[in-house]
């Protein structure tokens, strides 16, 4: 189960995620990442209430990062210790801006 709370403030877009980002739920985030980023210069992922991320979730974050490389910047914030370790192991700590 994944909940996505979306906040748009001018050119800044925030996805606040809670629950689990796995193979089953990742398509729910992939849709707005593919369709709703036009005109966005600042993309923020708030992972405060995200309990779990698997490779399917990492894939969507990388997809978002690739899009934002072309049009602005992306920040990932409030990352738990458990998820941060997954970022470390996969090299995502180097390609994402984690705050």
């Amino acid at each position: 189960m994944l909940n996505i709370n979306t906040e748009k403030n001018g050119n800044e877009l925030t996805f606040k995620l809670s629950g689990r980002l796995d193979t089953v739920t990742a398509p729910e985030l992939e849709a707005p990442v593919r369709n709703d980023l036009s005109g966005v210069s600042d993309l923020i992922f708030d992972l405060k209430d995200l309990e779990y991320i698997s490779s399917a979730g990492l894939r969507v974050l990388l997809l978002a990062q690739k899009t934002m490389n072309k049009q602005g910047k992306m920040v990932v914030k409030n990352v738990s210790e458990e998820i941060n370790e997954i970022f470390e192991v996969t090299g995502f700590s180097d390609i994402l801006t984690v705050e």
């Binding site: 796995d22 193979t23 089953v24 698997s54 490779s55 990492l58 690739k66 997954i86 996969t90 090299g91």
Partner: protein, 136 residues
């Protein structure tokens, strides 16, 4: 030893993880290790669901056992689909930039990184993948 026989479909992922989590909770496993195990289980189960019986579906058989007073867990997955060793998949280059990196391809890599040992064998028409991790 606990066992789960379940149809290998993406929709059954939650049931598989619930089975694993129940077993890990009995062993007082930390949340961090539980997540590492869950995401490894997810990758293997989803692999079976996606490829083993494609374009049909089939069954997966999952067993969970612990050793050394519950300090080591062994989880094994058996399916009767096409022979396939996922461990042969090449690791992604994690030093590339976000531009250069391919989306995807991290699943099996995460299994190898998060588990202490992973083995594959094809035996009597079965793919058997076993993973082992020290949990305390």
């Amino acid at each position: 030893m606990s066992e789960l026989r379940i149809e290998a479909t993406k929709e059954n992922l939650d049931d598989v993880l619930m089975f694993i989590d129940e077993e890990l909770e009995k062993l007082d496993c930390s949340m961090k290790i539980q997540m590492q195990i869950d995401l490894s289980v997810e990758e293997i189960f989803i692999n079976i669901a996606s490829y083993a019986y494609y374009p049909d579906t089939g069954m997966a058989f999952i067993s969970f056992e612990s050793e050394n007073d519950g300090s080591i867990v062994l989880i094994s997955f058996t399916d009767t689909g096409v022979p396939y060793n996922p461990l042969e998949k090449e690791d992604p280059d994690i030093t590339l930039t976000s531009e250069e990196r391919q989306v995807g391809g991290l699943g099996i890599f995460l299994v190898k990184k998060n588990m202490d040992e992973v083995y594959y064998k094809y035996e009597n028409g079965n793919n058997v993948l076993t993973m082992k991790k020290k949990i305390k």
